[in-house]
């Protein structure tokens, strides 16, 4: 049964994992958005090779499982290229951010393409250079369209961080598993608490997402 004493016993143990979960999440968010923008822009580039190469990256990472990518990076990268990522940390962060970067790059690309052609024409008529057109006119509008989806992916990335326990990182779930294996009868309380931990971490992201949705509704073309 869930008792106060059980919770007070389990809670501090799980707390130890919070730091890793949050660190992996933050690093993945930063790298994920970075990959998304780089890949999104590369797919719009005039350079055919760059476009095809990025397309390959996006399709491979969207076409396979995150958990497979995680294991692959964890086991294979050091063997194949002699690259030692230094720690499980980077294998985890890279897997999550490359995976979600691939998904989000499609949002970046789609949003930029969906800014109306009239905007580019108006900017041209004001004699802006192609870089200025992107920076001052197209991109600021595209970002507003990206926000709601970007918000959704924050929560997806939070959920994804739980996978790093599988490569031995000491996150919340890792400590949960340890507690479970030491006392199986405690398992319901342990995993329920783990879920609550994740949900508490998700709450600010949920509200942020709603905020992003409302921002994105403002300042959009109404023609």
């Amino acid at each position: 049964m869930i008792t106060i004493s059980a919770i007070s016993e389990i809670f501090p143990v799980l707390m130890q994992g919070i730091k890793i979960t949050v660190t992996v999440l933050l690093a993945s968010i930063v790298c994920g958005y970075l990959f998304a923008f780089i890949a999104g822009f590369c797919r719009l580039s005039n350079n055919v090779i760059l476009r095809k190469f990025t397309g390959l990256y996006v399709e491979v990472f969207r076409g396979t499982s995150l958990i497979v990518q995680l294991f692959w990076l964890y086991y294979a990268l050091p063997i194949l290229f002699g690259i030692d990522l230094g720690s499980d940390f980077w294998a985890g962060v890279l897997a999550i951010s490359l995976n979600y970067g691939a998904y989000m790059s499609e949002i970046v690309r789609g949003s930029i393409l969906s800014v109306s052609k009239g905007q580019t024409e108006a900017a041209t008529a004001l004699n802006m250079s192609s870089f200025q057109r992107m920076r001052l006119v197209i991109f600021p509008q595209a970002v507003r369209m990206m926000l709601p989806e970007f918000g959704n992916y924050l929560i997806q990335m939070l959920k994804a961080t739980s996978l790093v326990s599988l490569i031995g990182m000491t996150d919340i779930l890792y400590y949960g598993d340890i507690l479970r294996s030491s006392n199986l009868s405690q398992a319901p309380t342990v995993y329920l608490l783990v879920l609550v931990f994740y949900f508490i971490l998700a709450l600010p992201l949920i509200f942020l997402t709603r905020k992003m949705e409302s921002i994105s509704k403002k300042g959009v073309a109404s023609e």
Partner: protein, 256 residues
């Protein structure tokens, strides 16, 4: 007579297999006001879009202030213009669009200021001052901090005009600027254009369906039909005294 600021020499334009323009010759003198009329699909808009560098001509030359717009010299050879070349020349030209194309993420003031700052390199204070002056001129001095979505169609189009005017182009293009407006909002926009025309120094090319307005403002009217200029002359010559049958039947539809 002064040198023309814009010259079209046998300009052709096709979209795929469809020939839209079949040899356009045209001269625009500084400060001259030209109205282009004609049935829809006759290529009126295409003419000014090529001048604004939004479409590339299939053949022929467009000369702006002595420079070939779509061609440039490179290593002694004539080649297609690159973006840098286009940019150097199209600063003389401004355009107002049928659907306004205001930047929805910027306030009215920012819509006007952005290009002067980033394209012309004016400092922010000056840019702001000029923009406010121009917006006051079109009667929107009280809307500076509004966003385009908060304005009526007529107001949007006036902002679009202020945005183009503040760049001080030598030639201003108007692409059916009243056809996306509700009828009761047309007047305020035409009034602003009339005011600009009276100022005088800027050449204007207006693609329009407003015949009375064309008659009033334009020094010269072109009737475009099936990809060629079928009739041209002073406004009263073309609109009131032409013998061209297709022009007559075209006008009838607007005068009923």
């Amino acid at each position: 007579m002064s040198e023309p600021i814009v010259t079209f020499q046998d300009v052709h334009k096709s979209f795929g297999d469809v020939k839209v323009l079949k040899g356009i010759d045209l001269e625009v003198k500084p400060a001259e006001k030209i109205a282009i009329i004609g049935p829809s699909g006759s290529g009126k808009t295409t003419i000014i879009r090529m001048l604004m560098t939004l479409e590339e001509p299939t053949a022929g030359d467009i000369i702006v202030d002595g420079n070939n717009l779509w061609k440039m010299e490179k290593n002694g050879k004539t080649v297609d213009a690159n973006d840098k070349h286009l940019r150097a020349i199209r600063g003389d030209i401004g355009m107002v669009f049928q659907h306004f194309n205001l930047f929805p993420h910027m306030t009215i003031l920012e819509n006007c200021m952005t290009a002067i700052i980033h394209v012309k390199g004016e400092n922010k204070e000056k840019a702001k001052k000029h923009s406010i002056e121009m917006l006051e001129k079109v009667g929107l001095g009280d809307k500076l901090d509004n966003y385009p979505s908060q304005l009526s169609g007529g107001q949007k189009q006036r902002v679009a005009m202020a945005r183009a005017l503040v760049m001080r182009p030598k030639v201003m293009l108007f692409d059916e600027v009243t056809s996306a407006l509700d009828p009761e909002l047309v007047g305020e926009v035409l009034e602003v254009i009339r005011g600009i025309a009276k100022d005088g120094e800027m050449a204007m090319i207006l693609v329009t369906h407003e015949m009375d307005f064309a008659l009033d403002v334009a020094d010269k009217v072109l009737f475009l039909d099936e990809g060629v200029i079928a009739e041209q002359g002073s406004a009263s010559q073309v609109i009131e005294h032409s013998k061209n049958e297709r022009l007559q039947s075209f006008l009838k539809r607007f005068r009923s």
